[in-house]
Symmetry: C2
Subunit: 137 residues, 2 copies
DNA sequence: TCTGCAACCCGTAGCCACTACGGGATCAAG
DNA sequence: CTTGATCCCGTAGTGGCTACGGGTTGCAGA
């Protein structure tokens, strides 16, 4: 009978796709994952298509895409659509955001690093450089 | 009579310290800013000490410190404490977090940039590289 | 002095993407 | 058949604000 593989519990699905169990239910609530079949007792039963979709979602999240972007990407991944241009628009926009955040964070890092190191070698006599920066008139 | 400067309305305080008006009230609610005096009619009245404190908070936020860290820094900035070591501990921990996020984001940027550029020059024939990455078995 | 309207008041809800909690039901192994 | 792991659901909390709405106050100009 070839055995199992089909008929995943939510726990197994979560483990196999690397997503928190509660998050799976959350994704169902917000319509990112389809409502699965249930056992007689009401437990969710998933199949491999669910697993693939959820893995897609996890990868998208790991790449920093927001939920709405992932919703779009999922639609664009449907056979029939598959427009590389549209995918590119979403991914390109995200890349620009990532780069903007990266630049912000890099500026931050420089300032913090300078101040902290001034603090560590606090030859800089009277006051704490970190506090001075925060208090600067 | 030397005139104004003292007796800031919440709106002026917000404008002068570069913080949103609603955020000022929020900071009061969470105890980050002290409750100011009120006019007979109930409007908040701030002074220069409030302005300095709020500016401190804004600078801290701009440097990416969390509210609790700023609470700590404010305490450490009180005359009498002013321990550079304690300040350094907070700022150093934050710097480490910033560097960790920076590293994460940099990794992300590389992956996204590669995939997007593979997508743009899509000599890579059959499928969209972005979707392939998300779907990879 | 009166009027008009900007600025203020307060409480509550919404944002993002989860995570946690609690009390009860179900499932599967022994 | 019992036990204990797993699952159910709804709700609330996280951080750090921002927005809304309906009402009150403050102040400048006429």
């Amino acid at each position: 009978m070839m055995v199992a593989a089909r008929g995943l519990t939510i726990g197994r699905l979560a483990a196999q796709s690397g997503v928190n169990l509660e998050t799976v239910r959350y994704y169902e609530r917000i319509g990112l994952m389809p409502a699965p079949d249930r056992t007689a007792g009401g437990h969710r039963v998933y199949d491999q298509a669910h697993r693939r979709r959820l893995t897609f979602v996890r990868r998208g999240r790991e790449l920093g895409f927001g939920i709405e972007a992932i919703r779009t990407l999922l639609a664009l991944a449907e056979p029939g659509h598959r427009s590389c241009d549209d995918v590119l628009a979403v991914a390109g926009a995200h890349l620009r955001e990532v780069r903007a955040k990266l630049a912000d964070l890099a500026r931050l890092e420089v300032i913090l690093a300078q101040t902290v190191s001034a603090c560590e070698s606090h030859a800089s006599a009277p006051a704490c450089p970190v506090l001075e920066m925060l208090e600067a008139a």
